[in-house]
Subunit: 357 residues, 2 copies
């Protein structure tokens, strides 16, 4: 059985395409009291972007904070707010920001129509009801969240996505101008999410030609963006992210993502930088990818954090649990016999090396 | 303004994925008297594929003949048949075949819910009502019809597509096994449709990085498929076609397609072979593309037809009209000043050389 891949319904791509958002939303405003909920990264609270958001009278704007990775508790809080704003559901949820904000917008649009806590739906295909129409407008590129069927959340027990066809955005607006002002290190870490997941999926056992075609092009675009200087690098990075996300349709990530999930859960380290911290120690699994990654780090003058302090054994064990739960990632990376290779002890040894313990 | 590109809602890709069609349709069979209309290329009437079509009791199977390019009259005839089959609309229209069959399935699904003749809707965004849910299952790859927003038809006055967001398939099933038995020359001509439209769009003035990313990968895949020998060539050709189709989102074809449309209209020559006949004479516009195209022809031992008999002047004038109507193609190829370069006389001279008159 091959996955019947649900695609984003509509894509607009182009420099300045953010200016079309008003027209796009206008088509969805069915009644005079119809309203939209905008979830916008609070780093934009005092920037020019704020005034460009096509906010109508009845709309709701929530500045979201993503200093920490998005949690199920935060999703529940935002859903309560959005749900209490009016007697009815919004006509749309629009996320404007990086990967975490995209994840929040997806999760809130799902939880507005599905009862309980977001934590109840972490897993695969647990969502019962279609989401509120939702729009993703990335201001950072690399995660692939704009086309993926997941929204990754930190829950009480695990870091795991709400994986569902209903999670997929109905509309995305890809405006390369929006990513041009991102801080250099964030741009790099988020871009490397794409590069690393291409390495992992292209080297994995799950891949087919659909995902390979997308993955190879995303990989080439990443190398162009981070090893060359090109006036269209923002456009290319945006497409790399989109292609990288599409390549996940029939492939999986691998060792780096599995260990990075544990790092986020245990130490609250953001996904992008977490991947980089881990990947730098994975020469054993991805020798060429790690070599090129270091070239890119050098070119962009990136210094990875190396000191994580002392980490008690109990926390380390929890991180190992979080990593081990991700069975498809291990199987993709190491084959069906992965359990004999990736024991608790092996993962512990990797974490000890990664964290300099 | 950038196009808000409507995407195919669901894609399944994989060898043997055709076997999942029954499950895919089952989800759409709402009532006991719900029925599907299958439009299947009649070349499969006496093949094993016939028995693999998941035909339920109330379904309708129409063998379609595409010896000639699909016409608006044929679409009207098929629509009448499908509409008269039961007191209600079908739940779905499923096309199984090459580009012409895909075009027929798209057009019939549109015309079942829109009054009048298909000829009334040749143009851009003239369709008012959403189509019946429609599925494309290609048995030839290269046209990009599986992801495009058009269905190209020969009308009484012109060869022109019904371009509309409603034209886009709701579901496509991409099973590389289905294209493995195509006759070598048809496979080549259809594959070249993709190669040529990559050359035209990548060299065109309309392109942006979205379409460039898709077009470059489609171009590379075509060269791999037609210049190398690879066990995954069917898979790669299928992806080339899909990527080529996606690349049209923000780009256009050019000189070859414009002239080829005239050839189809005037002489009834099929689109794929028509492109090849024309492209072989376009060194002036696409020197490198034409050189590589000839290499591919040589490797696959393709002999293009060279003798088209005598063509009366009136017909030639009509062909020029059909080509000239395609303004966006000329503008993409030659820039805003194209009219000064591509006069009636110049087109006539090209047709005379192409047709050996």
């Amino acid at each position: 059985m091959f996955r019947n891949f649900k695609m984003v319904s509509r894509v607009v791509f182009g420099r300045g395409s953010f200016n079309q958002l008003n027209d796009i939303l206008a088509e969805k405003r069915k009644h005079t009291d119809s309203f939209m909920v905008f979830l916008v990264d609070d780093v934009f609270e005092n920037t020019g972007l704020k005034n460009r958001i096509p906010l109508n009278d009845p709309d709701m704007l929530i500045w979201v904070n993503v200093d920490h990775e998005p949690s199920t508790a935060y999703v529940d809080e935002l859903t309560r707010k959005a749900g209490a704003f009016s007697g009815q559901l919004p006509e749309g949820v629009i996320g404007i920001g990086g990967g975490s904000t995209m994840d929040l917008a997806k999760a809130v649009s799902l939880m507005l129509t599905n009862p309980g806590s977001a934590a109840d739906y972490q897993g695969w295909d647990l969502i019962k009801n279609p989401a509120v129409w939702h729009v993703g407008i990335p201001t950072l590129s690399g995660t692939g969240v704009e086309v993926s069927r997941t929204t990754v959340l930190i829950g009480p027990e695990k870091k795991l996505g709400i994986n569902s066809d209903h999670t997929v955005f109905d509309q995305i607006v890809l405006d390369p101008e929006l990513i041009s002002n991102a801080p250099a290190d964030q741009r790099f870490y988020t871009g490397m999410d794409c590069y690393i997941h291409c390495v992992e999926s292209l080297k994995g056992t799950y891949i087919n030609v659909f995902s390979q075609s997308y993955g190879e092009k995303a990989f080439d675009l990443c190398k162009e963006v981070f090893l060359e200087d090109n006036p269209e690098n923002d456009d290319k990075l945006m497409m790399a992210s989109y292609f990288g996300g599409m390549s996940i349709a029939y492939s999986q990530v691998g060792v780096c993502h599995a260990l990075s999930y544990g790092l986020s859960f245990g130490l609250g380290i953001h996904h992008g930088i977490g991947n980089c911290i881990v990947f730098d120690h994975l020469e054993e699994f991805y020798p060429q990818g790690v070599r090129e990654f270091r070239e890119m780090m050098k070119k962009h003058d990136i210094q990875l954090p190396r000191d994580f302090g002392n980490i008690e054994d109990e926390k380390l064990e929890k991180m190992i649990n979080v990593a081990l739960i991700l069975e498809p990632l291990w199987e993709n990376a190491l084959g069906t016999d992965w359990k004999s290779m990736m024991t608790r002890d092996k993962i512990k040894a990797l974490y000890i090396s990664i964290l300099g313990l």
